[in-house]
Each structure stands twice: as C-alpha cells, then as structure tokens.
Assembly symmetry: C2
Homo-oligomer: 409 residues x 2
Amino acid sequence: MPRLVMKFGGTSVADLSRIEAAAARVRREVEAGHDVIVVVSAMAGKTNELVGWVRDTSVLYDAREYDAVVASGEVVTAGLMALRLQQMGVDARSWQGWQVPVRTTSAHGAARIEEIGTEAIAARFAQGVRVAVVAGFQGISAENRVTTLGRGGSDTTAVAFAAAFDAERCDIYTDVDGIYTTDPRIEDRARKLDRIAYEEMLELASLGAKVLQTRSVELAMRYKVRLQVLSSFEDKPGTLVCDEEEIMESKVVSGVAFQRDEAKMTLISVADRPGIAAAIFGPLADAGVNVDMIVQNISEDGRTDMTFSCPVAEVPRARAALETAMAEGHINYHGLDADTDVAKVSIVGIGMRSHAGVAQKMFRALADEGVNIKVITTSEIKTSVLIDRKYLELAVQALHDAFELDKAG
Amino acid sequence: MPRLVMKFGGTSVADLSRIEAAAARVRREVEAGHDVIVVVSAMAGKTNELVGWVRDTSVLYDAREYDAVVASGEVVTAGLMALRLQQMGVDARSWQGWQVPVRTTSAHGAARIEEIGTEAIAARFAQGVRVAVVAGFQGISAENRVTTLGRGGSDTTAVAFAAAFDAERCDIYTDVDGIYTTDPRIEDRARKLDRIAYEEMLELASLGAKVLQTRSVELAMRYKVRLQVLSSFEDKPGTLVCDEEEIMESKVVSGVAFQRDEAKMTLISVADRPGIAAAIFGPLADAGVNVDMIVQNISEDGRTDMTFSCPVAEVPRARAALETAMAEGHINYHGLDADTDVAKVSIVGIGMRSHAGVAQKMFRALADEGVNIKVITTSEIKTSVLIDRKYLELAVQALHDAFELDKAG
C-alpha cells in the first residue's frame, strides 16, 4: 500500500476533541488506501509545563534528565491518538522513540536522527495494522537514554520517517493553512502558494517564516520528501514543498521575507590584514552571536570599515566580545557603531537564478518609495537589504506589488 | 556499600517542593553511607488525569495503550527527582522501566514482575553513582510494550528492587506514619506499632488497612525484605514489617481490623449433595463477586442453609448469578436472604497460634457489650466475626480494650 506520513503539531492535538478531529483525518487517508505513520507533538502547553518543572527543579539541569521528562509529553499524545483511532475502528498502535527505534546522536536536547529502524513497524503494516502512531521529537542514544531533537523536532521526525518508509508525501498539519508570499498581517494581498521549492522554503524559514523547522526542510530536500503544510482547522489543500522540477510555471520571485529586530554594527577603521575577518568573527561566534550579513568596505591606507548585522538582542554580547578582542590586542579599530533600528527585507525565488535584473528591480521599487538601503547581500536565490525599521511595512508592500505576488503564477 | 530502597508515593512527590523534601531525605541516607534506589510514583493527581484522558478517548480501551499513557506519570517524577538530587550535589540518574529493564508478564494494567535486570544499575553503583531513581509501577513485556502493575504497583516495584539488589531495608514513605493497632478515627487510643510480622500485615491489608498493597507485602514476605512504613511529612520512625523472628516480645493480638460495608447472604434450604459448594461459588466467582466468609449449616433431610459474606456493592451481582444458576437447574434453594447491614471485625496476631482461648476472649468481650455475632470464621492468626453494622465502633473499641492494644507490647 502507498504510505503517507501525517504530522500533527501541538495546537492540532491540543485537547481530546482536537485529537479526535486529527484522528478523523487519519481515518480518511486509511480509507483512501494508505498505510499511515502519524507523528504527534505534545498537547499544546504540556511541553512548556514539563520544561518549567525541570527549570524550577535544577538550575544547570542535566540534559539527559531534561530529555527523559520532556519527551513524556509526546508519549501521552501518541497513546491517546492510537486509542482514538481504535475507537473509530482503525487498527492502530503507538510507538515511543525507543520502541521504533529512532537512533540519534547523544547531543541531548538537540540530538540528530542517525537511523530509523523500519523493521518492526513494517512488519505491523504487513500484518494489516494500518496506522503507526509515533511520538515525535524523541529518540534513543547509543547509551540507551531518551533524547530529544530540540524544539520543533517533531517536523524532523515526520520527514525522517517519510524518508525511511519511502512515503508518498509528508503532511504537516499546523495552525496555518500554508506558506504565503509574505506575512498577511503586513500585506493583506499576500497569497497562499500552491507549491514552493525546498531551497526557497529554506530561505524563507531561516528568514522568519516559522512554519517549518529549518532542519526538517533540509532533510526533506536531501531525501526528496514531498512536504505539504496544511491546516488542521480547515479542510483544504495547503502548500506543497517539493523539488523545483515539480514546479511547472514559477515566478521569478516567490516571496518577500523579513526580520524586524535586526541591528547593524560597524567597526570603524579596522587595521586591514590577512586573517582580520577571522579575528573579528571568531570571538563573535564563540559568544553565541548570530551574525547574518557581512560587508567589508574598500581598504584605504591599510584600514577598512567592517559592517555586519545580528539580532538586536545580541548587540550587548557582540559589543563585549569585540571590546575584549580589542583589549587583548587581537583586533584594532577606531570606533564601534551600533544601529539598532534596522530591519532586513529579502526577496526569494529560484527563478532569480535564470533571470537578470531582479535585484535591480528590487532596488528601484524601494527607491521609488524613498527607502534608503544600508546594506545589501545576495545569494543565488535571494537578495536581502537592511533598511530603517520604520520603512519595513512600506518596503514589504512595495516589493510584493513590484513582483506581482498577489497574482497566481 | 549497603543498599537501601526508598519509595515515595504520590502525596510524597505531589509538587516540586514535596519532591525537594523527599530528595533531602535521600541525600541524608546517601551521606549515611547507603547506595540508594529511589522508587517514585506519579505526582498526586497526575495518574488520575491520564486515566481520565484514556477513558474519555476510548470506551473499551486497549490496555497496552492505557499502560503507555499512564506510565508516563512516573517517568516525569523520576526525572525531576534525579534533577533535584543533582542540584543538591548528589550523583543520581533516572531509570524508566524498560531501561532497567523490569521484565513483566504481558497482563497489561495488572502485570507481574518476572525479573529485574540488575546489571546496568549495579554497574552505575560500582562507578560511584550513589542514587538510581526508578519510575515505579511499570515494566516492559516480552513484546517490548510498556506495562503497568496496577494501582499501588509502586510499592511492589520497591519491594522487588529491594529483593533484587539485596537491600538492607525498603522504606515506604507515605502520608501516614505507620501501622496502627486499629483505625484511630474509631478508637482514639489506637497505638502505632513499632513492628509487625508479614503475616499480620497481610491480614490487615486485605481487611482494609490500605497503607500497603497486598502484593507488595506477599513479595516482601517471600524474599524476606524488611519493609518500613513511614511518613514523608514528619521526621520519625515508622512501623517495620518484618519476619516474626525479628519481633521479640509480641502481644497475642496485634490489631483490630474491620470492614464496614459487608453483606450477609443466605441460601435457604439448598439441596445438599457432593459438589454443591462448587455449584454455588463457581457462578459467583465468574460474576466477579468477592466472597469472603462461608458458613454451611448442619444438613437436615438432605437440605442445608449456606451463608456467605461479600461487599454490599456486589449483592445485586451475586443475586443475579445465583438466580441464573437456579433457573438453569445447577442449584436448588427455597429462598435467598440478603442482610446488607452488617460489618466484619477481626482480631489479628501471630501470637494466636500459640495461645488458646483468644477467640473465646473476643466473643466474651463482644457479649459483654451486647453485640450479637452472626457468623464466625477463624484462621491461624485471625478471628473474624460478622455483626450488625451499628455496633461496629462499639465492637472495635471493646476489642481494643480487651486485648490492651493501647499499651506497648
């Protein structure tokens, strides 16, 4: 039988009635002839409750115990989902991570899946059990301890199962109905995309479209798992995240993404010598600063200005790391500027690869609205600019309009 | 190092502050030189929450899924307890049933422990980890599914670990401070016992002193595990349940037990023939009626009266089973009487084995108070009588007084 993976997030299994609604969707797929692997998150709020208990119990908590406690939330949902399916007449059983087994690294709290044992579940399918309900977000280490994959890890679980079981598709049920050309709260003409390429989704995910965990999209791309994002609250198709070959007619630009709380930091008049970038960004990485864009000016008299962006919240950390590096003689600069009132806006699209002038069109659209660009970076399928935060909404709307994203491909 | 098992029930780990108090007790035993196995129940209320969800999800629920869901409560407490101990500087880790492993039968919801794998935990002790925190009440079946031992099963887990690890003692922390000569709510001169023999405890447990699960006492007796019942809310010794050889000076009678809601049923003028008892009590057992005392009158003209007791709540079931057996021709009687206003009072004591006249003294004490005895049964260490329920308190007080149970042994 063709196999399908269906993943239900916390809001989609928030209580017994939501679990019942999710089970009804599973039954429909079973009746349509699928063997189904259902991956579930903890009931909404449960993971936070468990994490709160752990933090209140121990300041520097043992991540192995954290994992054992927190992974129990998904175990409960998996059992309840199996029971609800049985109650509906669907033959189902639940699987905890260690029962499958889902073998992971020992990086507790942020483990990576290394291997999924398919034998036991496949044997059940062969016996006619139509549904395997899997507790998401968890696995087992080589030391036989329970691990978790980190927040949002149930998406990764779902994609990994779809790959291991060669599933036709991996449906991610959530509280939004798909991926949009941009945030509808900013641009009310934002349009839901029917399809989007893995690469585009990755750029959008890392830019703040928090629908899918980045790691799960990477995994889907690597194993060519067709991923559908859809709503568990409505009954309509969502957005398919797939290989670009499956996308017939695509626009040059698929979406406009943004990050609101960025900061632009500039090291003024840095001594320019080989290895200076490593000397600056090494200490920042060690301090846990997520540096995004980097621009180096043309050097003059052996000195240059170095500009980078990072989240506003990380500015104090960045400043401390750089001042320490200066004091210890690793770097030398004349001044350190921090502009904490900037935002990043990006256009994303696989069509940009084969179309010239896309960035130029972006800059023109912003110029027409009087939006000044502070920093530019480009990649194969993305162009990002840093602008004053007060122009964020205006810029997003202007770009959405310029690339006609409100119109179907 | 000498080993100790410490078991904390639901009220003793009800919230994070109670878990902290329990952990402090564990630390004290570690500092006193013990390697400790801590067995924990779910936080008070959690098991009921989980059971409620299961029942609301599925009417005839799959016991395997029930077990998977409900066993998660103890997993959470075990992790939190390990974290709290670590926070106090005590090297500890948690163990789920399947990790130990605790191998059980496949009778989900009421599984029996078959074997405890001691290797992994013993290796940890050898490495200097001083505490193993074990999730009580659970195990793993031969089919690799999570099992539970049934309500109160954490006591059984604790005793089984004490036996497997040859522990010096198994301390059961609970919300009462020990075993009393009778219920202090009925007799305010009831006295806490320092020691009580396994056999006595078994008679008391099955008679309604709900401090320890019967199965755990049986297991303790079989493996000669010294069991202490004590309060987690106060700091004082409890009652030691032990081999009678450890009890130097014992009274003839150790306690007065009772069951309030009993019923006396009488089959009037039953045809008396070989196999009649089986013909009566077979159907009752099949109907799930817990028959306790049985008395058969002297036969006259080939007919006899048969009297038995059972819980009041089971009278309708008993009546239906007997009437069906009559209708189907398996038994024949002239009438069926049910007296639902009776109670059972028992005196229990290992000293009764070697002392004559104990029952006689009991009957005399009741007669002096004008309490009429309806049925009598005796065993080696127990004498029970059925009386009108309205005399229950009077009878308990009279017997407590007659055997001077308010005075230390």
